[in-house]
Symmetry: C2
Subunit: 313 residues, 2 copies
């Protein structure tokens, strides 16, 4: 029923803000025809400025064959914007009534085999799709800011979403040069923002308690976890740091430390089931690489990142 | 009373594990004479392997003038290891009685104007220095793993520590090529590990609740917050993302979102005082750079990091 995700050549991006403009620039750089819908002609200058800014980075990262800003059309006519769209990325303002009205309208205008991905960070697709006549093809495709640079797109459907539309979105975003993450459940904050939010709240607690300044927080992150986290997520960072014993050693040896007051967030009970999920998950990511291989790979990439940061001033 | 931090040429590193070995390699690469104390000759092969591994990265990052592995001496004699030391980095096992015994002995053997920095992550200096006759020069200098690559060193004294020793450690670590962070208070987990631990506990909750797998967690971090966090800490990331309004806009507009269930960690009350600390802190880091400058700098560095990661395979 849906198109072949690799056959898509024409994408519509709704929204004139940093997210909508960033998505438009991203799809242009990947060689798509892009139609951008902006609500009002007065938003045009700001939209163009976002694409201008994004383009500098996208050119340095490398454009796909045929990519050109000449393939961008901007319109304030929603019907025209949706005409011929093979995928729609919606980045309208984060207000439920605006989104619901828009999805009701799109439900009428857009053939039901065309998938719509919403950039929303704070609403659920179950809420957004409530007034849409063709809700099965509506998914969340949540980017990370700036969307023209950070690869992550978190994908999840609402109660009325067709699981095939979720799978389609994963395949499409991957074809479009993104790093898709299909979520298991519709939860507030998705995965990345939840993790970031836990860190952010701890940071606010520390500033409130006089334990650190905002500058301290940023120095700590930039020079501590971040250069490793760009190479290894927190799970594999602990897995590899514990040598041949990996995550099993981490949890069996340091599990009691989860009760220590190292953050204001209480840890979950470290049940056998949770332990096994963590251990099995890390072993699965590791595949047949041993920890020396992974540590050497980690080090080489951290070195590359540190040298790149130094050279870019 | 203390030496000029820039005059230090001879450093002693205690400990044969990944932290002790990593520190030894770091100081060698920065051009110091390094004496490494290992507890037993049987640890020698593992210690050498750590230095071998670290040296590959350190050479690629660039060695300081005169840096040479020939300037490393390894001994199992503590008295000999401390003789002539101008700074001591202690990375003994994380057991209080071991550290206390060691600091009691160092208190007798080492002139009291020689600063000792402990790599401990889980103990406090107030506890460690309890049995030391000359506790004033004892500080924590906590690195991030791997210590030969990640620049952060968190510095804090105990109840008996001389504040001048803390300041000295900050100046010395900076001279030795590290990014020192002098902490305001002696708190469990310091700054970076607390932030990382909040994120880690949220990740464990998500895996326990079936909301994400370890692989999902790592995909989300690597492709989402991390490539930006290596360039901007969380405070400046939000400050710059909110345009000209900066952190004030972030807190005034999104403050209510702190009550949303985006993590299991409850947020602190967003008082006027906390708001002002965050806003003033970010404005102070920004200095006279406007948000366009900072956003352009962020983008250029993220591009450099992404390209470096791609090129390093």
């Amino acid at each position: 029923m849906y198109l072949d995700p690799h056959s898509v050549t024409r994408v519509t991006s709704l929204g004139a803000g940093p997210i909508g403009g960033g998505w438009a620039a991203h799809f242009l750089a990947r060689g798509y025809d892009v139609t951008a819908y902006i609500h009002d002609e007065s938003e045009r200058a700001a939209f163009d400025a976002i694409v201008d800014t994004a383009w500098i980075s996208l050119e340095t990262l490398g454009l796909d064959a045929g990519a050109s800003r000449a393939r961008l059309t901007v319109t304030t006519d929603l019907e025209m914007a949706l005409d011929g769209a093979q995928f729609v990325q919606e980045s309208a303002p984060e207000r439920l009534e605006i989104k619901q009205t828009l999805y009701a309208r799109m439900g009428e205008l857009l053939p039901e085999n065309i998938v719509i991905g919403s950039s929303t960070s704070g609403l659920t697709m179950t809420e957004i799709q409530a007034g849409c006549q063709t809700p099965a093809r509506c998914v969340i495709g949540h980017p990370f800011n700036p969307p023209y640079l950070l690869p992550l797109v978190e994908i999840v459907g609402g109660k009325q979403t067709d699981p095939a539309a979720v799978a389609w979105a994963g395949a499409f975003y991957e074809a479009a040069g993104k790093a898709p993450l299909i979520m298991k459940k519709e939860i507030p904050g998705f995965v990345a923002t939840r993790l970031q939010e836990a860190l952010w709240r701890e940071a606010l607690h520390m500033v409130a308690a006089g334990e650190a300044t905002p500058e301290d927080i940023d120095i700590a992150l930039i020079n501590g976890p971040a250069p490793r986290m760009v190479v290894q997520g927190q799970c594999m960072a602990f897995h590899v740091a514990c040598g041949a014993g990996g995550m099993a050693t981490n949890l069996d040896q340091f599990g009691p430390a989860l009760k220590w007051p190292w953050t204001r967030l209480d840890a979950p009970e470290l049940t056998q089931e949770l332990r096994d999920r963590m251990v099995d998950g890390c072993n699965s990511i590791a595949g047949d690489r041993d920890f020396e291989d992974m540590a050497a790979d980690r080090d080489a990439k951290i070195v590359a990142v540190l040298n790149a940061l130094r050279q870019s001033g």
